[in-house]
């Protein structure tokens, strides 16, 4: 039995198992409505939201290398630009396009820039000034591009600078089958120049010191922004703790990690033998998850996720010591987690139960009551619902020929006792509300 044979078998099985997509005629309109609701919620945020917006604007500027301070440049119509003071490798929208063939030898600097809207692995911020020949060599003898529809992947522009100020542009599109765009020609295998560039940056860093400029904690990654392939958790020099991040409707909170606390966290991270990440048993809703959004001295972004409070990075997970766990708990509280959970039309039924559990546990009783259909039956003030969704999860119940409800079974993590939430709604544009808890 070979992996190749397994892959073929799995590919066929996946393709055969996927059902036909249901007819959803209003899908585009629903998505736009959902976006508008999200925007309305966002604009209702107060000072904390404003602070995040300011950070989102200021921090990327602070992370830019000195070469960026001159602002965006405008390339010539051929895509090459010249100046009298050497190449200006500023990243920006003007990186698009470009002309000429494969960049010739003689370049003195190369930089990789994220394309606008790119949320994958971020490009390094440093400019490559050694090992350039090997990177340029990787652009030669590339195979022809393969045409694919759709696909996923990051997009970068590689800027190649020459002593006379000329800058040549090479597009690296890692989506679909992947393309390298040089002038008007398109080739395949963008991974070759990308990996060659990363290897050269790694080698360069072994003989140079990081920038002197202080490194600011990054903002929380939006849409699961990627980790740099050049970063490691042990190298983090500044970080932000993002709590409850990514949960639709729960809002986002974060707090910058003080230097002393960060040191203690990293010591604990290094001290614990890393364990292979495994599927956990689920956790109580009172255990908030968090992300440590860090940056190393080179400006590489490093994201450490903590599912159910257990931090993971790549294939490893780590059990923090008592001091480090205390720091995390304190920072989570300082971040203000959680805000009252909310549910919007279009959310699945079990999100109502989830929001209710959160709201009860953190004292948002009005919000919890609003999730009931009819008279709310809230538990006594101060009650902690130590509940996790239990197999078989949620089941749909037909209550009338044209109407159904969702019944979700939970168990108490501490006692094993079960509780069943039943959710109903009167129309598709309403949220699911709790009709009973038993």
């Amino acid at each position: 039995m070979t992996d190749q044979r397994d892959e073929h078998w799995l590919r066929e099985r996946l393709a055969a198992a996927v059902p036909d997509a249901p007819s959803v005629p209003g899908r585009a309109a629903s998505a736009r409505d959902r976006r508008r609701r999200q925007v309305r919620r966002t604009t209702a945020l107060t000072v904390a939201g404003a602070v995040l917006v300011v950070l989102a604007t200021v921090v990327p500027l602070a992370l830019r290398p000195p070469a960026d301070e001159g602002g965006p440049t405008t390339p010539s119509p051929t895509g090459a630009q010249t100046s009298g003071a050497g190449p200006d490798l500023t990243c920006g929208r003007s990186n698009r396009g470009g002309g000429g063939g494969v960049p010739p030898d003689g370049a003195v600097a190369i930089r990789l820039c994220d394309e606008p809207g790119m949320h994958g692995a971020p490009a390094p911020t440093d400019v490559l000034t050694s090992g350039i020949a090997r990177v340029l060599g990787s652009l030669r003898d590339l195979p022809a591009a393969t045409v694919c529809i759709g696909g996923l992947g990051s997009r970068y522009t590689m800027l190649v600078g020459y002593p006379d100020g000329t800058v040549r542009h090479v597009g690296l599109d890692m989506s679909a089958c992947g393309t390298v765009t040089i002038g008007r020609a398109t080739f395949g295998r963008p991974d070759r120049p990308y990996e060659a560039f990363l290897a050269a940056i790694r080698a360069q860093r072994r003989t140079t010191a990081p920038p002197d400029a202080p490194v600011a904690a990054p903002t929380c990654p939006r849409f699961g922004g990627g980790t740099s392939p050049l970063g490691e958790p042990g190298q983090i020099v500044a970080a932000r703790l993002c709590v409850g991040y990514g949960e639709p409707g729960s809002g986002e909170t974060s707090v910058e990690v003080p230097a002393d606390d960060l040191d203690a966290l990293l010591v604990s991270w290094a001290a614990d033998p890393h364990h292979p990440a495994s599927k956990g048993p689920g956790c109580s809703p009172v255990t908030p998850s968090w992300e440590l959004a860090g940056v190393n001295a080179w400006g590489d972004r490093v994201i450490v996720e903590a599912e159910c409070g257990v931090p993971r990075y790549g294939d490893d997970e780590v059990v923090l010591d008592e001091e480090a766990q205390g720091i995390i708990d304190r920072l989570v509280l300082r971040a203000g987690f959680p805000s009252a959970a909310s549910v919007v039309p279009g959310d699945v039924a079990w999100k109502t139960a989830e929001a209710y559990i959160d709201d009860v546990n953190f004292g948002h009783r009005e919000a919890a009551a609003a999730l009931w259909q009819g008279d709310p039956q809230l538990p006594a003030d101060g009650t902690v619902l130590d509940l996790v969704l239990a197999p078989p999860g949620c089941r749909s119940l037909t209550v009338e020929p044209w109407r159904f409800a969702w019944s979700c079974r939970y168990r108490a993590a501490s006692t094993g006792a079960t509780t069943t939430f039943t959710m109903v709604r009167d129309a598709r544009d309403e949220i699911w509300r709790i009709s009973s808890v038993s």
């Binding site: 899908r27 692995a121 696909g151 989506s175 992947g178």
Partner: protein
């Protein structure tokens, strides 16, 4: 300052509108989402969440919009399952949806097996063997190293092999 969301839906000749894009590619997105969530209702929710996030960028991303939506969808999936209920989720089908499936048992087996995988492995499985991405492309999408994709792929294959096909070599799988 209040944020402003403008309507996108007007197309110029030769350029699909947002509605046209969703009409032509929405089902393909849904199928990937179904493999991630194992549930039609959640899959639709995931697709719409991704479309809602990506919609403001429709004009700017041009032909790359589908790739952008897919990235948002996978990262949104990761974020949703980050917080809790790791591996435990609703299992029932909506009653109004038909269960006319040629191989319902096989589908259930596959959903159950995928649900046993950590979310990272599950995403890698969908990217590598349903979306047919290379290891490097999958790594780029998920923001992890190629080595991580390789190890996650190997673990996922091992797990799926034992969960879906406990038989010994020499079985009836295609060679």
């Amino acid at each position: 300052m209040p944020a402003v969301v403008s309507d996108v839906g007007v197309s110029t000749p030769g350029t699909p509108s947002f509605e046209e894009f969703v009409a032509s590619r929405g089902d393909a997105l849904w199928r990937s989402a179904w493999l991630l969530t194992g549930d039609g209702h959640l899959a639709e929710d995931l697709v719409q969440a991704a479309l809602a996030k990506a919609w403001p960028h429709f004009d700017r991303t041009g032909p790359g919009f589908e790739a952008y939506v897919r990235r948002v969808m996978f990262t949104t999936y990761a974020a949703w399952w980050r917080r809790r209920w790791n591996g435990e989720r609703p299992t029932a089908e909506l009653p109004e949806r038909s269960a006319e499936v040629a191989d319902l048992d096989g589908r259930r087996d596959l959903v159950a097996a995928l649900a046993q995988l950590p979310k990272g492995q599950r995403a890698v499985v969908v990217l590598r063997w349903f979306e047919d991405l290379t290891e490097a492309q999958a790594a780029q999408t998920l923001g992890v190293s190629v080595g991580t994709v390789k190890s996650q792929s190997a673990r996922a294959l091992r797990s799926l092999r034992s969960l879906l096909d406990p038989k010994e070599p020499g079985d009836d799988r295609p060679a």
